[in-house]
Every structure is written in C-alpha cells, then in structure tokens.
Symmetry: C2
Subunit: 121 residues, 2 copies
Amino acid sequence: MKNATIQYPIDSNMTNINKQECPILYALQIIGQKWKLPILWYLHEQQTTRYNELKRRIPGITNIMLTKSLRELEEAGLVARHAYETIPPKVEYSLTDVGLNLLPTLNELYKWGETQMKKNK
Amino acid sequence: MKNATIQYPIDSNMTNINKQECPILYALQIIGQKWKLPILWYLHEQQTTRYNELKRRIPGITNIMLTKSLRELEEAGLVARHAYETIPPKVEYSLTDVGLNLLPTLNELYKWGETQMKKNK
DNA sequence: CAGAATCCCTGCGGATACTG
DNA sequence: CAGTATCCGCAGGGATTCTG
C-alpha cells in the first residue's frame, strides 16, 4: 500500500479534536474557507499589498470577510501584517515563509484540478 | 516570481463560474466538504469497501451524507461504484486512478499541515 | 484608510424514520 | 444491505451602516 505513512485520525463525532489531529483537515481548516485562497493568491502575486487594494483585487469580498480571513491567516502564521501608525492609517499584508511554503502544494492541487476539469468537461 | 504559471481567475461575485475556471477551487469543491477526505482516505486504505463497512469505519457519518458524498465523488470520477444485483444487495466502492492520483497531493498537504501543527502548538 | 457593529439569510449538514 | 424521505437547526457568510 502506498502512502502508508499518512495517519488519518477521526473521532466519534468529527469535532475539532480530529481537526487538530489530522494535518490534512488542519490545513483545510486554515485555507478551506471561501476567501482564504484568493487572498493568499493575490498576496503571492503582489508580494506586499495594502488592505484596500486587496479588497479591490478580490471582487465581492466584504470588509468583514477580508478582515476576518486576514486575521485568521495571520494567526495561523501564513500572513504578516504591518501597520504604519500614520493618519490616515496604512496597513500592509504579505505572505510569510509558511505561506510561501504552501504554494508548491497548491500548485500540485492546481495541476490535479486542471486535469480533472478537462476530463469532466 | 515563482509559480507564475498558476492562474487564478475570479469573477465579480465568486459564483460557480470561477469555481469552474480555477482548478484549485474546482478541486476544493470536489474534496472540500466535511466527509469527502475521510471517505477517500478509507477507500485508499482498504481498496474496495462495501457501503455499510464504510459507514462503520467513518464514525458519525449518516446515510444521507455518505450516499451524497459517494455520489458526488463518483460523478467527479474519483470513486467507482459496483453494485451486485443480489438480494440482499451488495455495493462496493473503490478509488479510481483519478482518486489515486490525488493522494500524492494530499500527502504534500499533509506534510505542510503537520509542520504547521507543531509550530502552532 | 482600515476596519467594527449590527442584522439577516441561505444551505450544509444533522436526526429520525422508512423501504425495495 | 444499501439506501430515501422529511424535517430542522445552526453557522458561515452577506448587506448595510458607522468610525478612529
């Protein structure tokens, strides 16, 4: 059996416990919500981006979702926030090394998805 | 810029259109729901599995969710369904090559998640 | 400029019961 | 054994308004 090193712990009711035990579910918890990948993607494209520019670049996202997603990504260590204490305020976001480390994996997922899209079309 | 080959199309309101254009969102659409990965995981571990055994192996899943998830995975081409026309019925599920092709990517995600879990703990 | 507060709604998934 | 049928609750996310 290939990939026999993967462990996939599951508890009786799929609570957070197993999400904190299974690295795949853990990862999906971090990047799986609606706006996380678009945000990571644009931060990757533009290196360092201000709040409002990010908002413009991701059509449809609201302040709430953008702020919430950025905070969660920051807490998970994928995104760095740098606030300049000026008036008006200026806040820049960028990918950390942790965030950058995710990109090759996303690339893998991209290639798999691309192949499937062609097949299913 | 690395990974410059990744395209990430987004439309104005994040509808299905962009989910059908972006391979990453497309992939997440297929494997991102609550029970998809556990199902894929156990099918990988046990090769060919009957409906009720799958249900026993995935604690907490209901018939509805198991059937629904299997149908979607089947439609996406990741899972094969083989029904024996006997009484009582016997239905076996297994991973297709498409499903197997996803495992290396999941392994990548696993390693990334594992690293993050250690850091954030 | 970069958010926070408030209210609201849809739809994913859960619970229970039933069947060819 | 392998599912359907029904009903229901909640949380993720939307729309709008406001502010240091």
